[in-house]
């Protein structure tokens, strides 16, 4: 019996005592529990730039909704279906979870870092201000997309039912933060250094970014709260980006490539072509940026005995910019024609090229239309967050709204157009373009909203959300109706909230939906008065 007792003691002893490895077992040896704050910041920057650049039908449909591009075979997103692919869910997730959460974590980590010396202390502060500026940028994007969104109660895992905040109140707070950031940043010292993927830690540039954001936010809400808008723009314009400056992420290679490269080249798919909306306008204006935006279609032709061109397979009608080879001096030249056309001289190659966009939202055969220009599909094509072109157009608008911004609308308009041509490598064409009566600010058709709206729209190619927001605010140019809708008022002016919010944050969702006047694609946001 004694040995039995002995056995029992041993059995119980073994099992209750050997738990000393348990702590070790539960430690993840492949993932760190501590990382430097700048790695979180850089990750947020990458995620943000990716989202801005992307044309994935799961993430970013604004190049479509701005009718810069359209879809070839699978046209659901161009027809305003965001439910099928839960796009709103993804947008919420990208901004809050992938970007803002990492920024918040970077702030916490950096804030807790103990540093020695005043320079290091200044650098640390600069870092925190820069993080703050980027947070503001992200919230501004969310507000533009949805209207009211969680803000004061966001990013707190202990409150899993965050309430939605009134958009104007949030905008005001964002502007306050930007002012504090501008005041606080010390550009005599550095910040993130190379870990800042956008601007290499250049604090002066970050100050300009913050000021530019004041201008952007101000103009965005101008029709909603003019006083706030005026104050913001007027305090920010002087320190904002000059026409040739911008904040951008330049991608590196195929491993760290622009998402457009993944969506359009790596995928091997032919999903996107230019929309007729932008192509028709540019053809009509003889806007040479079309050469940088799109790669033209070619067609061959024959001459008949009267030296007339027999156009054999040219599809489509309307105006075209034709590119032909001058056989006298062997230069490419451009000429504007009406289609179908009959005769053109001076060509030796018997090949013309021209641009044609797919009818927005309709099924289009990829091969029969122009394509997005090759440089835009390169892995290294940059993702732009905000640039001087944009600031110029905002200031033109500000001038028209009577804000004191140190220049006239026409001056800023010209700056904006010129900056756009320059940034697309066509600086030489800008003056001639601006001289055209339908472009020149004094002679162009329509109200200032129409003039600025049209040129800003043309300048914002590839920058879908900016173009779409500008269209919502200025209501120009006139967009086309895809087959899914039958009236202009059915064009969406915001995203509906994520379906996920409806089910897991239902009370707050319902309050927000009611506060903005209904959770519909066609609910106008508070600043979108007209």
């Amino acid at each position: 019996m004694k040995r039995l007792f002995f056995v029992i003691i041993i059995l119980l002893g073994i099992t209750t005592s050997c738990t000393k490895n348990f702590e070790d077992f539960n430690t993840d040896k492949k993932r760190p529990v501590e990382v430097p704050g700048e790695t979180l910041f850089a990750n947020a920057q990458k995620a943000l730039a990716d989202q801005e650049a992307s044309t994935s039908v799961n993430l970013n449909v604004w190049k479509l909704w701005a009718q810069q591009w359209t879809e070839t075979t699978y046209t659901d997103e161009a027809n305003y279906d965001i439910v099928n692919r839960n796009i709103a869910n993804s947008v919420f997730q990208v901004y809050y979870r992938n970007i803002l959460m990492d920024l918040r974590e970077a702030r916490l980590v950096i804030d807790a870092t103990v540093v020695d010396g005043t320079i290091a202390e200044t650098e640390k502060k600069n870092r925190l201000y820069i993080i703050d500026v980027l947070e503001v940028y992200c919230y501004a994007q969310l507000l533009e997309t949805f209207g009211d969104v969680p803000y004061t109660e966001a990013l707190d895992i202990n409150n899993i039912y965050p309430k939605y905040d009134d958009a104007l109140t949030v905008y005001k707070d964002l502007l306050t933060r930007l002012s504090a950031d501008v005041a606080g940043m010390d550009d005599s010292q550095g910040s993130f250094g190379d870990a800042d993927l956008y601007m290499g830690g250049d604090v002066a540039m970050w100050k300009k970014f913050a000021n530019s954001m004041k201008v952007r936010i101000g103009i965005t809400i101008a029709d909603g709260d003019n006083a706030t808008a005026k104050a913001a723009v007027e305090s920010g314009y002087a320190g904002a980006f000059a026409p040739d400056e911008s904040c951008r992420l330049v991608y590196l290679d195929a491993t760290n490539s622009n998402p457009l490269y993944q969506d359009m080249v790596q995928s091997g798919r032919d999903d996107f072509i230019p929309a007729n909306t932008i192509v028709d306008i540019m053809n009509g204006l003889f806007d040479t940026r079309i050469l940088a935006y799109f790669s033209a279609r070619g067609f061959s032709y024959e001459r008949n005995s009267n030296n007339q061109i027999i156009d054999t397979d040219l599809a489509g009608e309307g105006k075209c910019i034709l590119i032909y080879r001058d056989y006298l001096n062997d230069n490419d030249s451009l000429v504007q024609v009406n289609l179908p056309f009959t005769a053109l001289a001076k060509d030796s190659a018997n090949v013309f090229t021209y641009n044609i966009g797919g009818a927005y939202g309709e099924s289009s055969a990829f091969t029969q239309y122009s394509h997005v220009a090759a440089p835009i599909q390169e892995p290294i094509y940059p993702s732009i967050l905000i640039d001087g072109t944009e600031v110029s157009f905002y200031l033109a608008e500000a001038a028209e709204r009577g804000y004191s911004v140190g220049g006239t609308a026409a001056e800023y308009y010209n700056k904006g157009v010129t900056a756009s041509f320059t940034s697309w490598g066509l600086a030489g064409d800008a003056a001639a373009y601006l001289a055209k009566p339908e472009v020149a600010y004094t002679t162009a058709t329509g109200t200032w909203k129409q003039k600025i709206g049209l040129q800003a729209y043309l300048a914002y190619h590839v920058r879908g959300l900016v173009a779409y927001t500008t269209w919502r605010r200025l209501d120009f140019p006139i967009l086309n109706l895809p087959p899914s809708i039958t009236s202009y008022s059915e064009i969406p002016v915001r995203f509906t909230y994520p379906t996920r919010e409806q089910t897991i944050n239902g009370t707050n969702y319902a309050a927000a939906a009611s506060a903005i006047g209904g959770d519909e694609l066609t609910t106008k946001l508070f600043w979108d008065k007209f």
Binding site: L11, T15, T486
Partner: protein, 1109 residues
């Protein structure tokens, strides 16, 4: 030939022997009451010659002169043998054996128990029943054979099988049954990646329990409820399948015992066409007929110089270089809503662009393909050969078994090879000390498993994205002739790169995966009988394997998701390596004593120390391969993306104690308690206790003896089982993303861990009644149960505005209640012929009682098509949610002004549920002399399945249903032609008017076109239109077997010879889901009820021979 003549001689000898006979009569009575017993089998020993006793217990049998003895057997009585003398009358008194009427079963921890004493439900199968049909995963053979066990095999070669007992109890955790072989828990992990499981893309590598060699199985018992499984600890909360392997038998009477058995089978399978698409045959490539758009100002087509105009073709390429544009098929469009077939139209098709093609630069007739996708499939072949040698000396036993499986799937270039070697033995070191050991080595080599899911899957092309004009034999010929990727889906005549799809023969032959798994499962055990009452067992077991999965995409392929992070690439190589090992150290001290004459006590005290470790590395090339054909990571175009690494170690220490009291053979009581301490829980909460109590009462042993009731037993059980957390859910860490240049990128992960987790707890109640009547000719076993799992450890979905997608919490309660019925009867029984029926039926009702706080819905998976699988409060687990029709208050569907159905704006409408209403199986077995025939009908009633195949396939115009005659008597795909007055030209117009009402309740009269993707399919219809009833009735298995009579072979060196013809999945008698098998899914696990690009089911027929020496 020699064997055949040997058999002939034997036959003759037997025939001669039966000539001399005599007749013996007698009566069989019961020793209990002296009454005659009807239905006793009286058999001449060593033959199959026998009769049954009549109602008075009398019999008359003619026996050969040389017969030595008669055997009397009867259910519930001890079998008796009476040596024949010269007397021609033999009277026999049979002893009751009522207490053993149910025999013994192996229960938790390998403890053998009298079934009668169990207070919970178990069900047993013999090795033969499991191993009838040869499949690479024997688990598939359990379907329909066990009540309350839902076995769902998909059609993937070597694919995963989902085994859920009594419904799902965990919302997000593992719900699979635990497999235990000879006391060793067998890892049943599924290494399919998240993308595969959610139907995105990837291969189904199957689950690891498939390594168990069915030839090694002696018996299997299924422990269903918590009362039965509590002793195994937390992992057994989902039920346990306890497998006992065959062992050698020790020598009897000093004579060595050795037996050899050889089993050989060949099985072939062919596609069951009811599980494959039936295509429309009138229209070819395209999404509509908009390709040649130009019309003049009046809307009239501008014809080509020959005066032809085809809306479904393009007219922009000069294919043959004659300077004139040619009509070409829009080959880049993977749909069949295009130009109507008309063989008189000659058009340039995909096969006219490559010089290797016989149709190079030739326009060919526009017609439906002679050889559609069905010609892509081969017949599958499976060769299974096994040999075993088993035996023993006086103090030793051993068994050596070897099985070789060689399987070829129905897709070209697919195979699985499996070699399994097992050796077990025991040695009585001392009279009271036995040492035993077992080692099982299994090597599985797979090659060319079928891809699954939506993307890059030949089957999703066949079911969703295809052109009915494509001749697959031509695809095959051109691939074989050139070994190039000449696809039916080139972008255009001037760019022959694949638009979306490769030539499927290229894919099968170039882009194949290979995988190997080397596995060793073994144990050593010591059994020490300390004294008459105490015994001690100690066992150390190990289950360890390494697995390597290599995937390839050859240079020249179309772009598709591949490798780490699944970016789109046109070529690549990836390798996933996993090593797993689990070690268990068990001690079990047992006590057994009759306390009084009437009271027996057995008790046990045990410990279990478990350690497991998973070490994984997944790495792939990035951006393509540099050197074609070289599959190495170094051959990467771009810098590789950060590899995915996982190292996960778990330790659990358990202590348990139990007792079992038996009173007078009719009252039994069991009690157990277990304490587990798990490393996956926070240190402060990592130990948890749980008890179980069960009892049984054999009322048939206390009521007066009667002739009709042989067994009556009620059972009652109560149990709790605790469960720990998934590994890595306590401490927060960061996720590393691919470095940007020289800047490392880290991110906060999407799930917030929780340092305060507590164990989850399942409480289970079970009651049962078992009865057997008429000497066992009829019986049933019914169980009722109710399981509640509370404090579930859930990564609960939270608003992403919190910065996380989910957060680990303890919350929620899920309930399963159900009924299981097993019914068995023998409607006919004579000495030569017997008919047995077994019926299994089970109904489980699941309800999600609560989630966390106000939370009403927990998403388990979000799937393509906008579908989600959810746990929703007040609903059964596994609601399928998506969009639905909008209904008018008059009950009719609402149609929008544009003529299409209105859909709900949100995707949270419940449109189905993955759980069946009930499942059942009926097996009939007929035995006639040495022949037997059995067939199994397996069925499921209810449950739903969403078909992404129909969702897209109807939109791409593939299926026969997309081409019909409309209300006007015209093809629905005809253009709608309007008369001058705006009315529809009824003589030619296609299109249709959807049945429903406008929002104001008036009947819809708007005709919508039927010639493009909008009418049917995903675009204008809600998810609910593609959710089908998953019910089925299947002829699952039929077996015809013949054993050579004992009398024939007893003088040979054979102990037994049998042949059988086995059919499995022979016929789907009924189903609702069109074009596919409702059982087909992506993988095992909680994501069920959704299918995309699933393989067709194969009908298998096999022939096998079993020889025993």
């Amino acid at each position: 030939m020699r064997k055949l003549s040997f058999l002939l001689v034997m036959l003759l000898l037997t025939a001669m022997q039966v000539l001399a006979q005599r007749t013996i009569t007698g009566k069989v009575t019961s020793a209990d009451d002296g009454g005659g017993i009807p239905g006793v089998t009286v058999l001449v020993k060593g033959t199959s010659n026998g009769v049954l006793t009549d109602l008075d217990g009398k019999f008359s049998i003619s026996v050969p002169k040389d017969a030595t003895a008669l055997q009397f057997s009867f259910v519930g009585m001890k079998t008796q043998e009476v040596t024949l003398t010269t007397a021609n009358t033999v009277d026999v008194q049979m002893q009751s054996e009522a207490t053993n009427i149910e025999g013994v079963v192996v229960t938790a921890l390998g403890i053998t128990r009298d079934k009668k004493s169990l207070g919970y439900s178990t069900q047993e199968l013999s090795g033969d029943e499991i191993n009838n049909a040869k499949r690479t995963n024997f688990v598939d053979n359990l379907s329909g054979k066990l009540a309350g066990v839902q076995v769902k095999a998909n059609g993937n070669m070597g694919g995963s099988t989902n085994v859920v007992i009594r419904g799902s109890s965990s919302m997000t955790g593992n719900n699979q049954a635990l497999f235990v072989v000879d006391g060793v828990p067998i890892n049943n992990d599924n290494t399919n990646n998240a993308g595969q499981i959610s139907g995105r893309s990837g291969y189904d590598y199957g689950n690891a329990a498939a390594d168990i060699d069915p030839n090694d199985i002696e018996t299997m018992s299924v422990l269903k409820g918590a009362a039965a499984t509590a002793l195994y600890g937390s992992r057994a909360a989902n039920g346990v399948i306890v497998i006992t392997t065959k062992k050698g038998k020790s020598a009897v009477g000093g004579k060595k015992n050795i037996g050899v058995s050889i089993n050989s089978s060949i099985t072939t399978g062919m596609v069951d066409k009811s599980t494959f698409p039936k295509y429309q045959t009138n229209y070819g490539a395209g999404y509509g007929t908009y390709y040649y758009g130009p019309t003049d100002d009046n809307g009239n087509p501008i014809p080509d110089p020959s005066g032809n105009w085809y809306g479904g073709f393009e007219y922009v390429f000069d294919v043959n270089g004659d300077g004139v544009n040619d009509w070409t098929v829009p080959t880049y469009e993977d749909a069949s809503y295009g130009q109507k077939f008309d063989p008189s139209i000659l058009v340039f098709q995909w096969d006219s662009y490559d010089p290797a093609s016989p149709n190079y630069h030739k326009a060919t007739p526009w017609k439906v393909a002679d050889n559609g996708p069905i010609t892509f499939f081969d017949n599958s072949m499976n060769f299974t050969n096994s040999v075993e040698i088993a035996g023993g000396g006086e103090s030793t036993t051993f068994r050596l078994g070897y099985t070789n499986v060689d399987e070829k799937g129905i897709l070209p270039n697919s195979e699985i090879k499996k070699n399994s070697l097992t050796l077990n033995g025991s040695y009585d070191v001392l009279k009271n000390l036995t040492v035993s050991a077992n080692v099982n080595y299994v090597k599985t080599n797979g090659k060319g498993r079928n891809s699954t899911g939506y993307s890059d899957n030949i089957m999703s092309s066949f079911r969703q994205w295809m052109q009915t004009n494509v001749d697959y034999k031509m695809q095959k010929d051109l691939y074989e002739q050139t070994t190039r990727n000449i696809t039916w889906n080139p972008k255009n005549p001037e760019n022959l790169a694949p638009a979306y799809w490769d030539n499927p023969y290229w894919v099968r032959n170039q882009n194949y995966e290979t995988d190997t798994r080397d596995r060793i499962i073994g144990y050593t055990a010591v059994d020490w009988k300390i004294n008459d009452y105490f015994s001690l067992m100690g066992r150390y077991s190990i289950d360890t394997y390494t697995e390597l999965q290599e995937e390839r995409k050859a240079v020249g392929s179309g772009s598709g998701e591949f490798g780490v992070q699944r970016p789109d690439v046109t070529s690549g190589y990836s390798r996933f390596g996993k090593s797993f090992n689990e070690r268990n150290l068990d001690f079990l001290l047992k006590f057994n004593k009759n306390l009084t004459e009437d009271l027996n006590l057995s008790a046990l005290l045990g410990t279990n120390i478990r350690r497991s470790k998973v070490d994984q590395l997944y790495v792939s090339t990035n951006g393509g391969l540099i050197v074609p054909g070289q599959y190495s990571i170094g051959n990467s175009q771009s810098t590789i993306l950060a590899p995915e690494e996982l190292l996960n170690e778990i330790g659990v220490n358990g202590v348990f104690a139990g007792f079992s009291l038996g009173f007078k053979n009719f009252l039994f009581l069991d009690g157990n308690i277990r304490r587990d301490q798990s490393s996956t829980l926070p240190e402060a909460n990592n130990a948890y206790f749980y008890p179980s109590v069960s009892g049984s009462f054999l009322f048939s042993n206390v009521i007066p003896k009667n002739s009709w009731l042989n067994l009556g037993k009620v059972r009652l059980g109560y149990a709790q089982v605790g469960n720990d957390a998934p590994w890595g859910s306590i401490k927060d860490t960061y996720t590393q993303n691919t470095t940007f240049g020289t800047t490392a990128l880290f991110s906060v992960p999407s799930t917030k861990n929780n340092a305060d987790l507590k164990p989850e707890l399942t409480t289970s109640l079970e009651a049962g009644l078992e009865m057997k009547f008429f000497q066992g000719l009829l019986g049933f076993d019914v169980s009722l149960y109710k399981d509640n799992t509370v404090n579930q450890i859930l990564p609960v979905a939270v608003s992403t505005a919190t910065g996380y997608s989910s957060k680990y919490i303890n919350a929620g309660e899920m309930q399963n209640q159900g009924i299981e019925l097993m019914l068995f009867g023998t409607p006919v029984k004579s000495s030569d012929f017997q008919w047995d029926i077994t019926l299994n039926w089970a109904k489980n009702v699941n309800e999600v009682i609560s989630l966390d706080g106000d939370l009403k819905n927990l998403q388990i998976a979000s799937l393509q098509g906008g579908i989600s699988i959810n746990a929703r409060v007040g609903e059964p687990y596994g609601t399928i949610q998506g969009t639905d029709y909008l209904y008018h208050e008059n009950g009719q569907r609402i149609v929008k002004a544009n003529g299409y159905y209105a859909k709900t704006a949100t995707t949270d409408k419940i449109i189905g549920n993955i759980n069946p209403d009930w499942t059942g199986g009926i097996n009939n077995k007929f035995s006639y002399k040495d022949w037997s025939f059995s067939f199994l009908i397996d069925m499921q009633q209810g449950g739903s399945i969403f078909s992404l195949d129909m969702w897209y396939g109807m939109a791409t115009g593939l299926y026969a249903e997309t081409d019909y005659i409309n209300d006007l008597g015209n093809p629905v795909r005809n253009t709608i032609v309007y008369n001058e007055d705006g009315t529809v030209d009824e003589s030619t117009s296609g299109g249709t008017i959807l049945e429903g009402v406008l929002a104001d309740g008036t009947v819809n009269t708007k005709r919508v076109r039927g010639d493009n993707y909008a009418l049917q399919g995903y675009s204008q219809n809600p998810n609910s239109a593609f959710t089908y009833n998953a019910s089925y009735i299947k002829l699952r298995e039929a077996v015809l077997s013949y054993s050579l009579p004992k009398s024939l072979i007893e003088k040979s060196f054979f102990q037994g010879v049998s042949f059988s013809i086995v059919g499995s999945n022979l016929w789907i008698i009924s189903k609702d889901l069109p074009h596919a098998d409702p059982e087909a899914t992506q993988s095992s696990g909680n994501v069920q009820g959704w299918q995309s690009g699933v393989m067709p089911t194969t009908r298998n027929i096999g022939f096998s021979v079993n020889l025993q020496f």
